[in-house]
Symmetry: D2
Subunit: 115 residues, 4 copies
C-alpha cells in the first residue's frame, strides 16, 4: 500500500472510532484546513527574516505538529472526494510548468497572469 494511503487509513480509523464522519462535510474540512494553516502561519507573525529562521529551529517540534494537522485534513479531504493526491500533485506540477515556463519565470516571483 502507498505511504499516503496508509497514513490516510490511520486518519480515517481515528475518526471512525470517534464517530466523527457526521461532522466532516467538505465545507467544514476545508474550513479546518484553513484554520490549521493559519496556526502554522501564526508562528511567524511579526518576525524578521532572522527571527523566522531562529524560531523555525527552536520550535521545530511544535511546527511539525502544525504541519501534521494540515496534512491530516488534506489527506482526509482527498480521500473523502476519491482524489488520488499523489496523481493530483504530479498533474499539478505539469500544469504549473506550462503556466510558469522556466525562461519566463526564472528568478522572478511574478504570478502567471502577469508574466
Amino acid at each position: 500500500m502507498s505511504e499516503i494511503k496508509e497514513l490516510t487509513n490511520k486518519i480515517k480509523k481515528f475518526q471512525d472510532e470517534r464517530d466523527w464522519r457526521q461532522f466532516h462535510n467538505h465545507k467544514d474540512v476545508a474550513l479546518s484546513l484553513v484554520l490549521e494553516a493559519a496556526e502554522l502561519l501564526e508562528h511567524f507573525q511579526w518576525k524578521s527574516p532572522q527571527e523566522v529562521d531562529q524560531h523555525a529551529k527552536e520550535c521545530k517540534d511544535e511546527i511539525a505538529d502544525e504541519l501534521a494537522d494540515v496534512a491530516i485534513y488534506l489527506f482526509e479531504f482527498a480521500d473523502n472526494l476519491g482524489i488520488d493526491l499523489s496523481s493530483a500533485i504530479e498533474q499539478k506540477i505539469v500544469k504549473n510548468g506550462i503556466e510558469y515556463p522556466i525562461e519566463k519565470s526564472k528568478g522572478r516571483h511574478t504570478k502567471h497572469n502577469k508574466l
Copy 2:
C-alpha cells in the same frame, strides 16, 4: 524512496529550475499555504450542504488542483525544515488520541480544552 519523498523531490526540482528558493522563506511558504487553503474553501462559500456535495462531484478536477497546491507547499515546507512529514503525522495521531479519548469524544465535536 518513500512516496512523499519522491513527490517532494519533484517539487524541489521544479522550484530549483526556476531559482525560486530565494523567495521561499518559511514565512512566505506558510502564508502561501494559507492562501491555497483559502482558495479551496472558496469552492464552498455560501453553499448549502446539498450544494456542497453536488459541487464537489461536478468540480472534482478543480478541487484536486487546489488540494495539490496545498500539498505542494506542505511537502516543501516540511522538507525545508528537515521534518519527516510521515512521522509527524503518526506522532500527531497519537497525541490527538490522548487529547480526544474515545469515551469522551465519541459523537461529539467539542474541542479538547472544553471536553
Copy 3:
C-alpha cells in the same frame, strides 16, 4: 472628527505608546488580519446551523472581541496606506452593484464571473 478616524487614532496611540510601528509593515498587518479572521471563524467550526446560532448568542462577548481584533487591524491598515475606509466602502458598494445587478443576482449566491 469621524467615528472611524477617532477609533483609528486610539488604535495608533496604543501602538505608538508601545513603539510597535517598527513591526507593523503591510505584510505583517495583512497577515494578522487573516489570523484574527480565522480566530473568528474557529467559533463556528464543525457546528450545525442550529449550533451556530446558539453559539453566537451564548458567546456574543467573545465574538465581539474577535470582531474588534479584525477591526483594529483593518482600521490601522487603511490609515497606514492613507486610505479613507469610509469612501472605499461606498465606492465598493457601487462597484458591487455593477457586478451584481439586482435582476441577475436576486436570490442567487452565484459569483459575478459566473452570473
Copy 4:
C-alpha cells in the same frame, strides 16, 4: 447616525435588494471575511519589504477595494449579532492594554502569554 451605522445600513440595503439574507448565516459570513482577508494578503505574497512598500503605493486602489470587502463583511457581521462595533473596539483596546502593559511590551512583539 454614526458613520459605521450609516455604512452598515447601505451594506444591508444592498443585500436585501438581492434577497441575500438567506445565505448570510454567521458561519458563511465569517468564512467570507477570511477569504477577503486572504485576498488582501495575496498582494504581498513573495514580496520583499521594499517590494511590499512599492506595491502598496502602486496598487493603492486595488488594496482599498480589498479593505472595503473586509469591512463590508465585518460591519454586516457585527450588525447581524447586534454588536456595537465601536464599543467593542474601545473595550478591546482597554483589554489589550491590560494584556500588553507598556513597560513589558514596549519595542517587543512578544505575545501576551509569553511576556
